[in-house]
């Protein structure tokens, strides 16, 4: 018989939930970690990790049957044959698209920490001060100095490889040695120093892949098969990093197939008392109690849960006494950039499949630059020698054609921009009372659109990359904008934001719900802005920081 009372309950086992479980158990709390989907055990449950391309009947490509079964997932790259089992079923997890919103989810232990892109960047005060400076959204209640020690802390445990660059807009950190630029990238990075006053810099991507061992984990083996699960523990995931640490305390109870239907709230004590769990297999309902709750179910799921909770006190849900709950949904817009061909390096190649590339940190609207839009973007990209697929469009059949296609082709280089999206209260989620999922829960309605600032920025995102590559001598440069709809960045943020004022924010500076101080929300929903670098490292740092605060408050009997 599983206990029904704990010191803390963590809802969700992805990047944020894994960190909450680790921090709270290591500080002595007995923690129940709830996950709505199945368990995935480290290594044992990575069935495709060492498969070869030819082991897949369709060699990884999507089939019509897969497209029919996954009407949302098929809109972009996540629909594929190699790790389909790790993407949530669109049919079992419906939502209402007031406007098109691509919601790509991982409903299993580890969540999207198993499939994430692993790019890990600190945000700077250019990001934390932006809302206040421009009078947009709500001011972040923290500054870089508040979070810097927590970046230090999580980087050491997660294992982030990267280079020290001394750039104010992209602070350095506690990095393992970087995965270096290859010779194509190095050549272009070197030439670029002579242009744009040195402000457009190509640096090695900072990634949650190890270049040195950590306890229980081997360095990256350069397989570049991360999203199949890594048998070496070479990249950060809940399974490789935070869950083993939490388990080692002996104080963690992990409960898969646990759908949290609501946070239980005591209106007299003004505190949450626990959560109600619907077992996804037996459909039985169980109430669990705890002295504090961490919501780490991912932005939209944590918000959906808040909207369903304490509705007897606030019809709009727990946290809705402000006007912020469910509003200001944001993502990173991307899929625009340029690529071209590098000449003069045909006598050079590289070895190993590096699971990262280069990064060009933001340079727009910084250091005196001023554009017609606000904020900025960074680029992720890489150089490599082209492969056999170049032969598809070339003229030729026969033996010489075949043998030539098996050789490495010309060097190519390209970059895709990831742009900041502004907070806008009109971009919102709410409960759709007309539609229920298979568990009887009214589904989430998502109403979100790309704004004028983003469209203006996208022109630069595309054209700047071409200008940058051409300045560095890259040939045959081509631009692209592959189109973007909110959600595609898989960086949902903002629908339960932090702030300084309970009237305009859901959470305070320690991620505490203003209306329920023993409820903490530390996933992407807490973000008051998106900046342009990838957000996951910031979720880790905010979660560790909030857990530290929560335990100290618990000891002072303030929760």
């Amino acid at each position: 018989m599983q206990a029904q009372s704990y010191d803390a309950i963590v809802v969700g086992s992805g990047i944020s939930g894994g960190w909450a479980a680790k921090e709270l158990t290591e500080k002595g709390l007995r923690v129940l970690l709830l996950e709505r989907g199945k368990n995935i055990e480290h290594i044992k449950d990575y069935p495709n990790a060492t498969k070869a391309p030819w082991d897949y009947p369709h060699r990884g490509r999507r089939t019509k049957a897969m497209e029919a079964a996954y009407p949302v997932l098929k809109r972009d790259y996540p629909l594929n044959e190699t790790n389909l089992d790790w993407w949530a079923s669109d049919q079992e997890s419906p939502y209402t698209e007031v406007k098109r919103f691509d919601w790509y989810r991982g409903y299993h232990v580890g969540g999207r920490s198993l499939m994430w892109g692993r790019q890990s960047y600190r945000w700077s005060d250019f990001d934390f001060e932006a809302n206040a400076r421009e009078g947009l959204g709500t001011d972040w209640p923290i500054r870089y100095a508040d979070i810097a020690p927590w970046y230090d802390y999580v980087e050491r445990h997660a294992g982030i490889s990267g280079s020290q660059e001394g750039m104010a807009q992209l602070p350095d950190g506690q990095f393992q040695p970087a995965m270096p630029l290859n010779c194509g990238e190095e050549l272009i990075a070197g030439r670029l120093k002579q242009h744009f006053d040195g402000r457009r810099r190509i640096i090695p991507g900072r990634t949650a892949n190890l270049t040195q061992p950590l306890p229980g984990r081997a360095p990256c083996q350069y397989r570049n098969a991360c999203w199949l699960g890594c048998p070496f523990g070479g990249y950060f995931s809940t399974q490789s990093s935070t869950l083993p640490a939490a388990m080692a305390t002996g104080r963690l109870t992990l409960r898969p197939f646990a759908i949290v239907t609501e946070v239980l709230y005591d209106r007299d004590k003004k505190r949450a008392t626990g959560v109600r769990v619907l077992d996804a297999m037996t459909e039985q309902t169980t109430d669990y109690t705890a002295r504090m709750i961490f919501l780490c179910a991912s932005t939209l799921n944590s918000t959906w849960l808040l909207l369903r909770s304490a509705t007897n006190v606030w019809p709009g849900g727990l946290g809705s006494s402000s006007d912020a709950l469910g509003h200001n949904l944001m993502d990173h817009h991307f899929r625009a950039g340029a690529s071209g061909r590098i000449e003069g390096l045909d006598d050079k190649t590289f070895y190993g499949r590096r699971p990262t590339g280069f990064y060009i940190p933001r340079y727009r609207n910084l250091f005196g630059d001023k554009r017609e839009y606000l904020r900025g973007f960074g680029y992720q990209g890489g150089a490599s020698r082209s492969g056999w697929s170049r032969a598809v469009a070339e003229l030729g059949v026969g033996g010489a054609f075949k043998d030539a296609a098996a050789l490495p082709g010309p060097w190519t280089i390209g970059g895709t921009a990831f742009g900041e999206m502004l907070p806008n209260p009109a971009n919102k989620v709410s409960i759709d009372p007309t539609k229920k999922d298979k568990w009887g829960l009214p589904v989430l309605a998502i109403d979100c659109a790309t704004g004028e600032n983003e469209w203006l920025m996208r022109k630069d995102m595309m054209n700047d990359m071409a200008e940058t590559l051409e300045a560095a001598g890259v040939k045959d440069v081509r631009t692209y904008d592959g189109g973007y709809w909110p959600g595609m960045g898989i960086h949902e943020m903002g629908t339960a934001r932090m702030g300084r004022d309970p009237k305009t924010s859901v959470l305070n500076s320690h991620n505490q719900v203003w209306d329920a101080p023993n409820v903490f929300v530390t996933d992407g929903s807490c973000m008051a802005s998106t900046a342009c670098p990838n957000p996951s490292l910031t979720y880790m740092a905010l979660t560790a920081r909030a857990a530290d605060f929560a335990v100290s408050e618990l000891k002072r009997n303030n929760l």
Binding site: P47, P53, W54, D55, R59, K348, V392, P408
Partner: protein, 199 residues
């Protein structure tokens, strides 16, 4: 780093064993299961030359010969040895929409009408060289939204099927499941084949 360099040039099983050692003898529960699963998958990889979906054995044989003319045996085995014919039939069946299937099927009919199967290897090559020029000229100038040329579809599936097959990855190119290290810059000697990617 020296530990990682040791992993170069060894197979997957050995790589996992060595990394287990690197971790100070921590035994990975499930490593054996992992290897067993991979070996089972290898056993299933052998594809028979029978009917595939609506493609008859004769259809598959035609596709095999087309593929083997595009990518014949040289110093490495050709497309037929890599079972590219049945692979094309599978991909058309499972991944092409009705319109693309129609284009592909019409193309097969045209090849049969031209007596492709009765031609000598040299005649087949000459025939496909001409067809390849036609498809390229068409594809380079086709209006937006116009269907692809059937021979472009065949050529794409042939290249994809061959260079992701075991023969294509490990014999025509080079494949290392676990490279074990990253060398960002090394000399390239003309003639060295490419490294195949991971799945």
């Amino acid at each position: 780093m020296p530990e990682a360099r040791q992993v170069q040039g060894i197979d997957r099983r050995e790589a996992i064993r060595r990394v287990t050692a690197l971790l100070g003898g921590v035994v990975f529960v499930g490593t054996t299961d992992l290897l067993t699963a991979v070996e089972h998958a290898h056993a299933r990889a052998a594809t028979s030359h029978a009917q595939v979906g609506a493609f008859t054995a004769q259809d598959v044989a035609l596709l095999d010969e087309v593929a083997d003319t595009i990518l014949p045996e040289t110093k490495t085995p050709g497309a037929k040895a890599a079972h590219v014919g049945p692979f094309m039939a599978l991909m058309v069946t499972d991944t092409y929409d009705d319109k693309q299937q129609g284009v592909f099927r019409d193309g097969m009919r045209k090849l049969n009408d031209a007596g492709f199967m009765t031609k000598t290897p040299a005649q087949r090559l000459a025939f496909l060289e001409q067809l390849d020029r036609e498809q390229k000229a068409y594809m380079d100038t086709r209006p937006q939204g116009a269907p692809a040329h059937y021979f472009r579809l065949m050529k794409e599936l042939t290249l994809f099927g061959y260079f992701t097959s075991e023969i294509g990855c490990t014999q025509a190119m080079r494949y290392r499941e676990t490279p074990g290290r990253f060398d960002p810059c090394m000399p390239y000697t003309p003639g060295e084949t490419a490294w195949a990617g991971h799945a």
